[in-house]
Symmetry: C2
């Protein structure tokens, strides 16, 4: 069995050989740049861990795992154009560093590379891997569209929001685990348990992101606290606050949200006070625990010896206790 660090190393090695020295360089340099900036490599590591639950070897799962990471980075690259983001992982975004056309086209090539690598899996499970990934990839795009819709939409319910993050974030984590498990030789029911595990982990993870953005420890968080509030982002916290606030507080909240994407009039402090008054943080934490406990049920149901589950449990626990 491989540790987290060993699995990260496999991904790191495979990423080095990414075919980015190809021509035209205008197309491949941005892809190399995106990959060098790194990130947590959470998706491919989860995929390899799922494989490793069932199989002592993970080599057949490395390229598909890398493909899933390439797909994730493709969606970030295009999302950054759509959001007009200047920075990603503390580095200038591709459309800022090069230009928008190059960002669109490099992203398109990354989507194709993702399919190339993901379909580089054992041929007996190829149709099933493709089926899972197609549904997932489409769902991620649908999630991004809902996210963009919500920016302009007045009434977004917590149910709408949870469906959006399920599509935009959770299904990809779920697919990473399911595909990794299938490559490892998992029986179908176990692979489905791991899909559910990933789905609920994704929900918990995204909600925790929302909590950290408003209530994180500024010294540990790595970004400024209150970024979501400043930019009027409709997170679960904000939607819940809008649902729960009394008429007076709601009026004040709507007024603050109608303003600029800056911290005018102490907007961040005012909204944080309201969150505190309504106990929003505790409600969000309860929801994180709800999804987290579902991940435990799923992993418990996977029919492999308990000791094989050690690294996946450790990783999940550390994700749930993260400060950034």
């Amino acid at each position: 069995m491989y540790s987290l660090e060993e699995l990260k190393h496999f991904i790191h090695q495979a990423a080095k050989d990414l075919e980015v020295s190809r021509e035209p360089k205008e197309l491949y340099q941005p892809i190399q740049y995106v990959f060098q900036t790194g990130g947590k490599r959470l998706r491919p590591v989860l995929s390899l861990m799922a494989c490793n639950l069932f199989n002592d070897q993970v080599d057949q799962a490395v390229m598909p795992a890398l493909g899933l990471e390439v797909f994730h980075n493709f969606t970030l690259l295009h999302d950054d154009i759509m959001d007009g983001a200047i920075l990603r992982r503390n580095q200038t975004t591709v459309h800022e560093k090069w230009d928008q056309n190059i960002a669109i086209l490099s992203g398109d090539v990354m989507a194709i590379m993702a399919y190339e690598y993901i379909t580089d899996c054992p041929v007996d499970i190829l149709p099933e891997v493709i089926r899972i990934f197609n549904i997932t990839a489409r769902s991620v795009c649908e999630g991004q569209q809902y996210d963009m819709n919500f920016e302009k939409q007045l009434n977004v319910s917590t149910e709408d929001y949870l469906l959006m993050i399920e599509k935009k974030t959770s299904v990809l984590l779920a697919a990473c685990l399911q595909i990794g498990a299938l490559i490892g030789g998992a029986p179908k029911p176990d692979a489905e348990q791991l899909y559910d595990f990933g789905l609920n982990l994704g929900m918990a993870f995204q909600l925790q992101d929302d909590i950290l953005d408003s209530f994180g420890n500024p010294e540990l968080f790595g970004k400024e606290i209150g970024g979501d509030i400043k930019s009027n982002k409709k997170t679960w916290l904000l939607i819940k606050a809008l649902e729960m606030a009394n008429p007076g507080d709601k009026k004040e909240l709507v007024k603050l949200l109608a303003g600029t994407n800056r911290d005018d009039d102490g907007k961040v402090d005012k909204i944080l006070s309201l969150y505190n008054k309504l106990g929003i943080k505790e409600l969000a934490e309860k929801l994180v625990q709800f999804y987290f406990s579902k991940t435990r049920t799923s992993i418990n149901n996977v029919k492999v010896p308990e000791k094989r589950k050690l690294f996946l449990r450790e990783l999940t626990d550390s994700l749930m206790n993260r400060e950034k």
Copy 2:
């Protein structure tokens, strides 16, 4: 054996069932719009014809053929953003009718749908179909990048240009034929002959497009003659003229190209005169014939009875004699 009209009908029927009634509608309406505007459906028809060379049934090839058309339309959608195009097939482009973000994301979903449909093929040839399509899809993006590079590049050779159109246009036609043939049960060498057939057909087709844009019959062409010249597009005609012109003519040509994207100072007439003086049209037509004759060699080499090749020969001949 099915006629051109019958094959078009199969594609038309399959396109009707395109999953475009899905939510969110902001994502799927533009896809439906792109599909309703139609086009020649050349790629899927060629794919079905290649299948029909080897097999009386083409039903297994319909979804992959549609997928290849969806992929083609995805590239047009993103190219139109990059080129800032206002019209496509006489209809407002998606980024003009909706907005750029929707055009990026709808395009992304179309790329995924393309993979969905193309991989809906007999499982015994699935790995080979995916391999061919992955290389092709990447190549199309590389071709688009070269095309964008050439706009800013002073010296583009005819060899550079031919490589660019091979990647941007020809390889997809080639892949359509090869994949269709494989689904029809073609032996590998025959499928490769059909790949070559499509590759050379694509070269002939694109060069003919360039000729028609400058020398077409205005009444039959359907668009204004001289559009490429006006917009300083580096077509084979222009590159060849720059290569062949005497120093005085070349200086004049470079001066005209440095101007606006309009017909200032009778630019179109002046450049057409130079083309006539240098015999550019005849040289281009000779090159079209060169590629066209290669398609004949390839189709002759395909080991099926001559009568099965009838419709493919007819379609190729009509493409070579088109006025628009």
